[in-house]
Every structure is written in C-alpha cells, then in structure tokens.
Symmetry: C2
Subunit: 236 residues, 2 copies
C-alpha cells in the first residue's frame, strides 16, 4: 500500500542541527526524502554520518548529490584557507566567518527544490539557525522568505498553484534547545558530526566554531556530548 | 596589467541564445566568465559547443560544472521520457513541455551566483526568453526579479551592500531578432547547438521544439541556418 503521508525533502548534512530537523519533520508526519551534498568539504566525514542517520531513521529515500564547490573557491570549508580555531562566542556571532561558502544554502535549496518538484512534495526542511550563526546571511528568515517566493515562480508546480514552504524549525532555537529537542525525538547524537576540520581518524578538533558551539550547547543542555574530541597535541 | 573591466558571469549552454547573450555582455564592456553545466542532458554535445564558443570569444575563464540532474528525474531532457517532435508553434508556446527540467535555471543561477560572489562580480547574464518559450516558468521576468532579491539576501556581498543583477537581454526578443543581433556582434552560428535530441553524429534532429524554433527564427531573420539537419529516415 502506498504511503498516504505527505512527502518532505530534508537537507541532511549529518550534523546535529540537520539531524534534529529530520526528526522534527518525521514527528510532524512527513514521509522523509533526505538529501546530502558532497561538495568538496574538508569535513567529508559528515556524508558518512548522514548515511548512518538516514538509515537509523529509516527514511523513504536518501540521496547524496556530488557538486564540487571547490571549483569556485572562496571558503575555508572548501579551500586551503585555514579554519578559524579557538574563537570566542562574540567573534563567532558577529561577523561572517571564512567558513561561509558563497551561496551554499541557495545551491542546496535549489537542488532540494528540484527533487521536491519531481516527488510532488511542497515541503522542504533545512536546519538553519539565526541565533548562533547570525554571521551566515543565508540562515536569516528574510532570506528564507525570499527563497520561497522565488521557488513558487521558478517551478511548474508553482505555476499550477502549489506553494513551496521552506521549514526552518530551528531558526530561533539555541544550540542547547536543539539538543534537548533532539533527545526528546530519539536522536542519537553519537551519530552526528559537526566539526569543520576533523582529524584523519574522524575525531572532531574541538576548536573550530562548529565544535565550540556544539560543546557550549551540550554544556548548557545538561546532557553529555557523546563524541570523543581530539586531545591537545594528539597526533591523528 | 590587470583588466579594469567589470566582471560578469555568463551562463553558456552552447546554444544560439546563450551565445548571443555572451556576445552582448562582451559588447557592453564586461570581462566574461563563462559557466557551462554538464547535467546529464541527452544533448551533451552542447557542452563541446560551449567550449568552442568560449575559445572563439576569448573569455577570461570558462568552467564546466558537473551536476547530475538525472538523479531527480522528471524531464525529457534527462530521462527516458520522449522529447516531443513535430509540434506546432501554438503547442510549443502554450504549455509547459516535458523538456522542462525541474528548477533548472534556479540551480544554474545559484551556481553562477556562487562563482560571481567569489569573483567579486555582481552581474550575471542568462539567455532566457519569455516569448518563444513562454512555457518555462523559470524564463519569466517575475521569476528573474525574485531571484535577484533572494541573491542579495543570500550572500555576504549582498550584506555588504552589493546588488546582484541578473541580465536577461533576450527576454523580450523573437528568435529572429536574436539571430540578427548575434550576427551584428560576430556570432558564428555554425558553432552553436540547439537540438534537444541530436543524432549520435551530432546532427540536429530538426523536429524537437528547439530545432523548430531555431529554423523558424532563421527563416524569419532572412539568414541561412549554417547547421546541417538530420534528413528524414537518415540513420545516424
């Protein structure tokens, strides 16, 4: 028997935020189509994490799309630009960091939109967050609204009267709140990978913005982070 | 000496429209960064055409991005759905054809936007046309405006005050007018490839929407189409 649930496309990076977002979409009753991007990121290990998570949540389908954003350059996540380490919370929150990948969420949402249209889905979930990462322009509510308007005009489905909704359930949550919500929904955070610059053995560095925000979030949530971080001076 | 010209990213498919668009951007004084997409289209031959054209116009840089849109399906250009043949002009103009690729221009413009931001360019040229192809939603002026608004919100450059302009110089031109304009600007149309379903030897089919519009355009322009079309019953 064919599922009667509405379909949703969920952007799944393999990190804490996108995994919790997937769990939220599932709890809301959607049949989950998870999409992951292998874009030349130095933390390619997150693609493996995404596969584990998709399997754990028994999604209807999971695809990984190869799109080499290194061709454009301009980001510490894809280039030989150093990933900032050991920054304070104020620094993390108040400027656009070198880990910004030009137009990344726009590229990812466009590809998710293509898949959604093919699937007959009008709901796309993305785990952007405007609090901790106020530095990334493509995580702001005004951007998301502009993308939705564009999506309706871009597509055959939109011409036929459909409205695409970009769901951003985490947009106003703190990292600690996200962790608490994820725990409630059965997320096993040992499967998630957040680090921008993991060691060759996969251990998170503990010092990049993503690690710092994750560790702070766990500390505030009262839960222990199940990941083992690379120790100071430890060779991979 | 570094060029003082402003940079523009031009979407170059290798067809008649995008080639004329490139020639227009060049005439307007931009330094040209041409971007082509190898997306699993059955008319992959257009990628080779794009390379020839980029070389002919001596662009500053030409890149071809691989992005396999067959993963999503849903289009006669990437799937085993037949390409419509022998349709009349009314049919071509008044419905969204099966050659529509879900969200294609949004994906292509997003990738062009990423490159533009890295290059410090704020101008993107795309050869969309709202007259002959009124069937494609992502060729309409309202769509282009919505994309521009989204682009300014999506990017670090936009946050820093830049405004991205999506130039659509052909949007209100007939195919015949485009051909006349291209000839004026030195376009050699023998280098361009328009067919959606070329024979294995590269000859255009002459029967798909793209061939029909091209042939009609040449007939109305008074110029001869330099391409040799596949003959009826001719085996490739």
């Amino acid at each position: 028997m064919k599922s009667q649930k509405p379909r949703a496309v969920v952007l799944l990076s393999g990190g804490l935020d996108s995994t919790t977002t997937l769990a939220i979409a599932r709890r809301q009753g959607y049949e989950i189509y998870a999409i992951t991007f292998s874009y030349g990121q130095r933390h390619e290990i997150e693609v493996t994490a995404a596969e584990r998570i998709a399997m754990f949540f028994d999604v209807a389908r999971h695809i990984t799309i190869d799109i080499d954003l290194r061709r454009f350059g301009g980001s510490a996540l894809t280039d030989n630009i150093p990933v900032p380490k050991g920054r304070g919370n104020d620094e993390i929150s108040h400027d656009i960091p070198s880990t910004y990948v030009p137009a990344r969420n726009t590229i990812f949402l466009s590809l998710a939109l293509a898949w959604a249209e093919t699937l007959g889905a009008h709901d796309i979930f993305i785990g952007v967050n405007a609090l901790d990462y106020s530095g990334y322009p493509d995580c702001r509510p005004a951007y998301i609204e502009a993308f939705e308007k564009m999506a309706d005009l871009a597509t055959k489905a939109g011409v036929d009267g459909a409205h695409f909704t970009i769901h951003t359930p985490l947009i106003n949550m703190t990292k600690a709140e996200i962790i608490v919500k994820g725990r409630e929904l059965g997320v096993d955070f040992s499967m998630t990978s957040s680090c921008y610059d993991p060691a060759p053995d996969g251990k998170p560095c503990g010092q990049c913005d993503a690690c710092i925000l994750r560790r702070k979030g766990f500390a505030e949530s009262g839960f222990a982070d199940p990941l083992l971080y690379k120790k100071d001076g430890e060779h991979p």
